[in-house]
Subunit: 707 residues, 2 copies
Amino acid sequence: MKYLRNMWALVLFLFGISLADEGMWTFDNPPKKQLKEKYGFDITQEWLDHVRMSSVRFNDGGSGSFVSSNGLVMTNHHVGLGQLQKMSKEGNDYVTTGFYAKTNAEEVQCIDLELNVLMAMQNVTDNVVEAIKGKTGGDAAKARRAVLAQLQKEIGEKTGMRADLVSLYNGAEYWIYSYKKFTDVRLVMAPEQQIAFYGGDADNFTFPRYDLDMCFFRVYENGKPFIPTHYLKWKTSGATDGELVFTSGHPGSTARQQTVAQIEYLRDYQLPFQLKNYKRRLEALRVYAAHGEEQQRRALSLIFGLENSQKAIGGQYGGLLDKNLMTKKMNEEKALRDNVNANPELQAQFGWAWDSIAAATERNKKMFNQLMYRGVTGLLAPRALTIARYATEMKKPNGERIAQFQDANLNATLVNLYSPAPIYIDFEEVQLIDRLKEAVEMLGLNDPWVVAVLEGRTPEEAARFLVNNTKMSDIAFRKSLIESGSDEILKSTDPMIAMALRIAPIGDEMRTWQNLNVNGTLTIATEATGKARFAVYAKELPPDANFTLRLSYGQVKGFPMNGTKAPCMTTMYGLYDRAFSFQNKDEFELPKRFNEGIGKLNLSTPMNFVTTNDIIGGNSGSPVVNANAEVVGLIFDGNIESLPGRFTFSEEKNRAVSVHTGVMIETMRKLYDANLLADELEGIASKPELKKETPAKQSKPAQKKKK
Amino acid sequence: MKYLRNMWALVLFLFGISLADEGMWTFDNPPKKQLKEKYGFDITQEWLDHVRMSSVRFNDGGSGSFVSSNGLVMTNHHVGLGQLQKMSKEGNDYVTTGFYAKTNAEEVQCIDLELNVLMAMQNVTDNVVEAIKGKTGGDAAKARRAVLAQLQKEIGEKTGMRADLVSLYNGAEYWIYSYKKFTDVRLVMAPEQQIAFYGGDADNFTFPRYDLDMCFFRVYENGKPFIPTHYLKWKTSGATDGELVFTSGHPGSTARQQTVAQIEYLRDYQLPFQLKNYKRRLEALRVYAAHGEEQQRRALSLIFGLENSQKAIGGQYGGLLDKNLMTKKMNEEKALRDNVNANPELQAQFGWAWDSIAAATERNKKMFNQLMYRGVTGLLAPRALTIARYATEMKKPNGERIAQFQDANLNATLVNLYSPAPIYIDFEEVQLIDRLKEAVEMLGLNDPWVVAVLEGRTPEEAARFLVNNTKMSDIAFRKSLIESGSDEILKSTDPMIAMALRIAPIGDEMRTWQNLNVNGTLTIATEATGKARFAVYAKELPPDANFTLRLSYGQVKGFPMNGTKAPCMTTMYGLYDRAFSFQNKDEFELPKRFNEGIGKLNLSTPMNFVTTNDIIGGNSGSPVVNANAEVVGLIFDGNIESLPGRFTFSEEKNRAVSVHTGVMIETMRKLYDANLLADELEGIASKPELKKETPAKQSKPAQKKKK
């Protein structure tokens, strides 16, 4: 161990790297040494367990935390937005007006939200090693899949919890994470989107910032508010400049341990494709949204999502065009490979892996257009494809199915398929037309997939025909198909299902090709680079993010910005400055409540703040806690300088952006008439009505999910 | 003409340049066409004359304007700062506390401030052409100098005004500018530097911004407030987003028409030298300032000046390291040279010039260190050098003297030499020690200049010896030396004068070498490039800035900034946000008046705003006027994106930063108890005491300058 540490110190020295607040750490391997050395903080197992079990995963891509003894969950408005939209209707638009339930009875049940809490983590790497002993190539991959599916099933059955398979360190470790899951989740409070997403796409991914990006839900179990064993205490005064803070959440994906060949592939193929795709989709959606308020409401979430992705991927792409970043990545890779090659044993085991990855990546480039442009979009066509695949996959044994149809995941797949969220035919049309036009432009009219979708029609004709003649909008129809079984599905004459059945084999063929020629190699070779990194640096580097629970640490700290300094926090004065600087218009228009209520507010209340914590998309909604595990803020963004963080972390300018606890309480009490919620957060003796355990007023028992 | 316009249109087309708000235009050649085409504005001669004669030059490097019928002049606090420091003493520090004279009697006279108003402009290019007809090389240069000195003298004597020689378009045009000059200037109002320079070096050259960088003087003539024939009317509501605005001021220097060879010289020699020099001087000054409050007060102006230069030059240097900028410059030069070479006549006349400049620049590089590091600093040593040079220069005929000793400039040279501004011996020591150490480090102990200064002493010993044993601190001594004449000066035994007499010939030798080998060539060759540009583009491009009066136009407009948008203006809410965001500390600490007076203010009052006007250092203090020639703001800075503007203008992000008229009136009335001044600006019937013509209370008639 000592040797390895010294080796790491040498690497740090060679590349002039000082100990930065880097890393999204798994809870089994927290950065104890760094916390002790840099901040004098001794992290305990008790602290870690408490924070872990207070943390909540929003399964559609965000994070949250328990913040009261009554099952109150805090997250971002933009994490809750999808649910807010689904529960909104014309004349009852919670996205625009905001929402506050004064009593439990007024809380509104979410339509298809699942929350998870990570209760246990089991390292099953040894089981995998045992299962693939003596096997190579496809046999090894098959054996690995089989043993993991088996373990996942066993553990899930034993614990009665959701059991997720987790691969860490590029596949050098395999774990089963067990989650307690909640499907009865009710909306308690949401501000107007206008203030939650204040500054819109312009201010997105930037700081200084003035957003009230918060949303509160309550978790129910058996019709009663859930009493969590762990929840985070609240601190309205927040954290001070320089203070040590942590975030506990679910970063979605980083690519820090990818090889230079993979990063070059992202730079030259994947990211330019994505940017082009976002651009054209946004154009189509904006045309649709311009037709009226209702159209705008329908398209809003997708538009925001795409604008967000466009800016995020644009920032990543910009990072990869920066020669310094690429040089750093090349130096890091060279250092690792030199270490591997200097040791004959390591060299023999892992030395081949980087070239192997490069070769697989080259092969993938040749099929890039087919892989990217052969796809459908919207809600109807992708669901039809799910049904078509269900028909063929369910005929296979569990271990050989693609992931979403394996026993452990099947239920989630069906919940999604049966979602009662509204489907708008004209909106489906617009999206599918654009997607098919793009496919024709990029693949040509003779591409077999294009032929199979269009059947001689134009993209417009085909999309209109499919969307207007399918019964897929009807949940009962989707259910009846699944319940009728594989053979009946294969005979379906519903045009959308028939189209899905025509293209599914082409997709299968591509997947088979990609598994054989690309993914198989990548799985084994990236696992080898992961093991090589283990052999050289042990677990002193955290694994890449993969939407599992991670702990990051850092401090409240401003940063050099555009020739001057960005402060570590903003105040409500700044919100009004930004509004009046832009004539209180467009994305800088304040909600009525804020215009009228200005006189009630203490404008020096801190609004947003920045910390050096290393986070990425998926961390949205993560609590920011201090050394006492008290909530001092709510992660909702990174600054523009943090976007290349997908590939490398820079403490100089990379900042996580949070809502301050102070502004949440100030606005609840002074603008939202939500003293009861503020009391609950601040732990002030709660009023009787908060204890009433009435069923949600608007919940529909018939639609309650049982998982 | 049509041909030339089409040619220019072609160039615009070729390089994808759209019509930007570019240019610092001379008042004889305003951008009429651009104003008409882009803004539909017909600029009249009356408008131009009115704005020109309302504009004021601060001879120590800034701009200003008449803003009342009673000789009130508006400029920046940082333009007035030198005077504020000179009139401050311990216990009476206007820089820190601010100043306001309620009556004329309370106004404080400036110690050595000269203001100029441009009354006439005379094109004397033909006279020069006539004088150098048939002459070449050194003879031509000599003849040019002689005729210009003669014209300058004649015109000055005829008009009784200050006559300045002005060379435009790289010497393709020569003008004599006649200025009415004012030397009795009195301080009316200055806010605390803390709010004038709010955000300090951090926020300097950036936007969004919250500075009250204003200062008001009153011009006197014959002991009475001067009644200007032209002054600008005031508009407290300022200008709106998108509105056309103008600035009229004195941009100091641009290098847009320099050749690529010259710009590369700046990039590789001049700017890196300057940045290194600023850094070490700042280190020395900060050590001195750390000794106490009084030392800090003494060093403040120099420190601010150097920090300002460091950021400005740093931004220029950054611009030159940008490949896009260099490519643009190379393309522009290639387009011009291609045009020249395509026309045999132009080719013969001017085709050689660029290579000639490149060769001269190469020669200069060889002497770079001697030219840069053989120099003294402070107030004593440079003045001793002035006296030593006076002794030798005054023996020559007027036309052969170096510029500062020619008849037209001699008075200004002597006013500067006799300045009664305080000299601090310990401060002189610190600066001279550092400068001599730098010379020893860069030139070595055997350099003849170093030998002549040190006479075997160490830099510390030499500086202490010279500073402590000279009588140069005494104005009377300096005067008596000059009055004793050349021969007596040459015999002086004052150690500082003796040192100056030893190094002056070495400087003369360098100057002679540089004139022969570099400057002579550069003068002729840059003139040739200027004439070539004329031949190709006529006067459709404005000449480089040279601290003469220029008009620039543009519009109130935000800009894309660090991933988001910067608004076109800020409000006073933002001032308080910035203060509280930084805990009201250090450069973000508010003056007491602003902390205590917050309740009195309308915080939505606009504070600073940005426009696309093309400006540069020297424009500080320029009025921003609307199409009706009403003052709507006060230029005080450019944004960080404007710094490469020395070399090229980019309308996308280059912005001029101004104080809004609204915040001036709001703070005068609500915080400074300066209703009378606000009334005078707003043209509200003035109170009797404003009309009282009492002599300045603190003025010392004996010291009044007569020029």
